[in-house]
Symmetry: C2
Subunit: 343 residues, 2 copies
């Protein structure tokens, strides 16, 4: 039986009480007063926020399980301070944990980190441990918590090592995902996301991170930004920088999702990147919500593109399921009836 795991879903439809708490939290920060305690939305509100949206579309598209994290554009690590960021990450992660409790067959949790520009990663490490204890299977790492100044050290910098050490210990992968932009030069979903994906890959290429962390697994979303389209450039740059071929240097550890919203893009992706490095993802409901007039289907219905791409059944199986179980091994420990044991 074909099982489809979507590695890239965000809770973009969270109940209004969740979003409005964030507004009050930031108002309290600006006023220099203590924010009220966060309260989870009711189970009914959570169910209602998902049933007619992600769950309905997943059912229509045959997506069995979504690896689900807080809304990326709302992480906004550039707002407030570390205490604000920690409270907001905990609120979001508690909400994701409740989603997974309510719909254990449909969702697995990935956590938001309490990051803040210029601060260390102790709080992030602590939150990862807390979330793993709740059953989470991965984390979203924001490579630019400034929201568009790109002021954080490259991903190969030792600044990030405490997080990587924790990921190694707990066998967790990270998706590299920025949040909203506070820089007018960057439209979030049309400029910033893809810029960050692209430069993240190049940071990894220019360094030797996976010598220090040979088992680390990083997912670069949105089809790897510009990378597969410019795969020749990256092969050539690896050569110029005296790095090993990309397959050895990076592609045991780096994975791209299929959040590329047209057939020619997916066809390129699968033609230059090995199937074992591609994870099915749609980011539904996310950046692009409309129907493509050229196809009559939603732009983000990426299953159609993967179904139509020139792949063998085995490759498609890898992209839809097997790779996700390998990259997110904690999935196999969850009680998802639908998921086979990876061979």
């Amino acid at each position: 039986m074909l099982v489809i795991i979507d590695c890239h879903g965000h809770y973009t439809t969270a109940p209004a009480s969740h979003t409005s708490w964030r507004e009050r939290q930031l108002e309290a920060f600006a006023a220099g007063v203590r924010a009220e305690a966060y309260r989870l939305p009711t189970d009914d509100d959570i169910r209602a926020s998902l049933q007619d949206h992600q769950l309905r579309l997943a059912g229509q598209r045959g997506i069995d399980l979504t690896i689900f994290s807080p809304r990326a554009s709302a992480m906004a690590h550039h707002r407030g301070d570390l205490a604000v960021s920690r409270a907001w990450a905990e609120a979001n992660n508690d909400l994701i944990a409740r989603v997974v409790e309510l719909f254990p067959a449909d969702f697995a949790g990935v956590c938001q980190l309490p990051q803040t520009p210029g601060e260390g990663l102790d709080a992030a490490v602590a939150e990862v441990r807390r979330c793993v204890a709740m059953g989470f299977v991965g984390l979203n790492l924001n490579p630019d918590p400034s929201g568009g100044a790109f002021s954080a050290p490259p991903l190969t910098d030792r600044y990030w090592y405490p997080l990587y050490e924790t990921m190694a210990e707990l066998d967790l992968p990270a998706m590299i995902h920025v949040s909203g932009s506070c820089n007018p030069a960057f439209h979030a979903t049309g400029g910033y996301y893809l810029a960050a994906d692209t430069t993240a890959f190049m940071q990894l290429l220019a360094g030797d991170l996976f010598t220090d962390f040979p088992g680390l697994r990083l997912v670069i979303p949105h089809g790897g930004g510009a990378v597969p389209y410019h795969w020749g450039r990256y092969r050539g740059l690896a050569d110029m920088l005296s790095k090993p071929p990309l397959r050895e240097h990076l592609m045991r550890n780096v994975f791209f999702d299929t959040c590329v919203y047209h057939q020619p893009g997916i066809d390129l992706l699968v033609s230059v990147i090995e199937a074992e490095n591609i994870l099915f993802g749609s980011e539904m409901i996310g950046a692009v919500r409309g129907v493509d007039p050229e196809t009559g289907h939603h732009f983000d219905d990426t299953r159609r593109y993967v179904d139509a791409a020139p792949l063998t059944d085995e490759q498609r199986h890898a992209i839809f399921e097997v790779n996700a179980l390998r990259v997110y091994p904690r999935l196999s420990t969850l009680p998802h009836q639908l998921i086979e044991n990876p061979s």
Copy 2:
């Protein structure tokens, strides 16, 4: 007869005396003293810097004419101040003018602008006028003179209008091209260039610049960054932002070059972007200088990819020659024997 115009060449092999003057100029600035006057390299040094490099490779690859500008990574608009930037732009442009005088059949000039973060564009406009009087056919506009902070206003902002007005008056196109990065998050040719290309396109998509400047022509280099690979995302974002279809909204004014260094990338480019919006370019000798072990040819020998791409003869003719004459109309006023009149 097939004529091939390369729209994207930089003088990356300028004589050592040119490069060392820049070092002394910056040292003088740091010391608070006046820099020595710039002196052009000798004609012999200029000839030697080109004959065994760009001219040899252009001959081998059948490139008839290169639209040639100062080395992009060395513009470094973030260094010094506006006076420094002006003197450096003038030195570079004078050098390009001399190249074109020495090799009028091989090169046409495109100028570097004296930009500086936070400064206006009066000096840039003046330099454009000076360069056009010397026979230049276009300009390179740096959308992020900060060198990686992306602190400049979006390309649709009125900040840039004096430059666009001058371009309209003089019928000049601009290539949107950043310089070197002073931000450790951005490797110049592997991260920064493609990030800037991508966000530049999205800035244009989110605005309505071409309503104000219907004849403006902007070339986004490096195959348009991530844009063609994510063409579905951009079509969907245009829809979400209530913009007209991209063909009407942007593609009368925006062009992508072919600086994509592998066959699958060029095949994608020509499959999603109309041939009339693609200009042949190689950026030779530039970002990627090695030989692709998979093909035995230079990564940046982009003519091979265009030759092998699924194009009609008419489309290939458009990409190699016709589009360049349309986008850079001043080319037709130059004494290049090889160039046909565009129909």
